[in-house]
Symmetry: C2
Subunit: 246 residues, 2 copies
């Protein structure tokens, strides 16, 4: 069964700089993926590539743009990051193939998200590892809006009926007010007051939004840091388990 793995933008880039990749971390993640040999779909975030450009042009998951040059600018930055991620995966021996969300996802009227995953499914069946990312997508109401990597993860996991989801971020799990990893979350209300916020630019909402989104996905999700990726891929109980169905 397929696993959907998100590589957080804050992990693979230096999120406080502009368009700088953390090649050392990216290499170690690529090597962990290669060693595991699990059927995977990878989604990566924008980090210092996508978020700065989206924020500079005031485009978010709800605020749209009708400017084609803005769309091309945000998409182009994400495409450059995607090419770097895929190169590192190839170097590690992972059969990664690129999939640009702007071509297969859109929002119809009233922000109704459509994600067409047939090419991704064929790629997985053929033993490839499709690699997509948070992107700017067409939006019937407002021109174009941001599709976050997290939202794309849940859409792909549901359409491919993935077994489980892993979100590899820059923290070892969802942290409480004391900075300790919360082991298991089954409802948002139980943790809403204690979840720590994040400080850096993120047009897609941070940890609280992530938890809410993952509680709704109907399959187990683990949030963990980069060093726990081999454990996650091996099926170990790393980081925070988010299980809205449990």
């Amino acid at each position: 069964m397929t696993v959907v793995l998100k590589l957080g933008g804050s992990v693979i880039t230096d999120k406080q700089a502009v368009e700088v990749v953390d090649q050392t971390t990216l290499r170690s993640l690529a090597e962990a993926v290669a060693a595991a040999g699990v059927p995977l779909v990878i989604v990566h975030g924008g980090g210092s590539f996508g978020h700065h450009r989206a924020a500079a042009h005031d485009v978010s998951t709800t605020t749209g743009t009708t400017d084609a040059t803005v769309i091309a600018s945000i998409h182009g930055a994400m495409q450059r990051l995607n090419t770097i991620v895929i190169d590192q995966l190839h170097t590690a021996g992972v059969p990664a193939v690129p999939m640009a969300p702007i071509g297969f996802a859109h929002r119809a009227a009233q922000a109704d998200l459509h994600v067409a995953t047939a090419p991704i499914a064929v790629a997985v069946e053929r033993g490839f590892v499709p690699v997509c990312y948070g992107d700017v997508i067409l939006d019937a109401d407002v021109g174009a809006t941001i599709l976050s990597g997290d939202r794309l993860v849940t859409a792909i996991a549901q359409r491919l009926d993935a077994e489980r989801i892993g979100l590899c971020g820059d923290v070892p799990g969802v942290l409480d007010a004391d900075g300790a990893v919360i082991e298991r979350i089954t409802s948002y209300d139980a943790v809403a007051d204690s979840i720590r916020g994040t400080a850096v630019t993120d047009v897609t909402g941070g940890m609280a939004a992530k938890v809410r989104e993952m509680l709704a996905v109907g399959r187990p999700v683990r949030i963990f840091g980069p060093t726990a990726l081999p454990g996650f891929l091996a099926g170990e109980a790393v980081g925070t388990l988010i299980d809205g169905a449990g």
Copy 2:
């Protein structure tokens, strides 16, 4: 009603060199598109970007590859060309948005082509000009194969119920054995013996394949040279009309 316009790879690139764009021609085509203001989907060919790489790795519309680095290499070259085409369209004032076929098209078993055009349709409705291209796509039988720009044109035209198709190539129309433009083609047999071949590398088949493909599309197709683009967009009878329904 929407028009689907193919900009031939041999027009926008120097097809005998490697990855060289003909910026002068590309600029004049972009300006013609901007001046016409017709609802358009643009598909561009590979020219010296896609064909050399595909041929070097022995990948065609039927011969597949299972090597992810080959897929990324061919797709990456086409993506670079697409970025240049979109930049020129933006400079001319055309609201062009990129659409990568690897993410929205695939071949299921027995080479059954699927093309998911919902994001393209939303883009057109919103007044954007989606720009896609001949690409390498996933193939359930053989890993990945080439989707020619021409085949993509017919698939998009049918799914969007486009009014008409224009193929802007490096000749002023379909030429007979004497080098004269054939005015109208309604069946392949009538012209099979007189169609002139093309000499340069083309993994997707040349003029005879083009004529056969366009006769099957069920709507009027015009094949013309770059100087006739303004006339085509204005609805004039330029080049060769291919009308399989007529």
